[in-house]
Amino acid sequence: MRDNCPDRFPPGPIVRINPYELHINDPDYYDEIYAGGGKKRNKYDLFVRLFGMDDGTLSTLDHDLHRVRRSALNPFFSKVNVRKLEPIIQRRAQKVLSLMENLENTGKPLNIFYLFSAFTSDVIMEYAFGQSHNYLEREDLNEDIYHMMNSVHHLGAAARQFGWLFPILLSIPEWIITRVDKGMATFAAMQNVSFK
């Protein structure tokens, strides 16, 4: 919670957790903080900078500007369009099941993290980019990218503290980063395809 309107809160289960934030342990405050209809709520810069993309819709601080940008995505979340997604999900789910069935009685282990991560990646990529890289078809289920995404998520907490962390990491040239991390190499390849 930003420090702009603390006077409106009655005393109660509120503690100050850092120089700029309060933590409120009371579900009734939900409507006050995540106010809908008509009320404006800007986003909180310290929170969104952990995504490392200050100009993205997700990271847009200003209430009105965010509304404009977000509305461009609305069609993707319409009922009709989400329903169209169902065959895509079904097809991948069948693939997931058959991968599991093939391993039955073989004694081979299967890392469910990689499997489900490949499953969701395939579905989301096909929906968002119109084509998927079919991680489920790969022998290794593209586990490199799973590890890469995992470390990025762990970096999030540090990125909240240090606003300069992501800008510096993002400015590292691609040819260096692909050598350091196999997952990043896969990611860069994916990015290059998406931008074409």
Binding site: D3, P6, P11, P13, R16, I17, H23, Q161
Partner: protein, 77 residues
Amino acid sequence: MTYDHQSLGSWPLLAGILTVVSLAYGITWRLVFSPLAKFPGPKLAAVTLWYEFYYDVIKNGRYMWEIEKMHERYGSF
């Protein structure tokens, strides 16, 4: 190459004083004049983000449990 303190004159001292003063100002503001100053909580957490950094980064995201403890200590009706 030798390092000559004399040539710097009183600049290091001035820089030192400025650092101390600005730190003192920042700490005082956060503890006394900030609109959040009247809310209960650990004073160290009110002064610096490093408190949260310790739990969330070094201890791998454990600040939420620490917050729960704060509510037990400071946040009762």
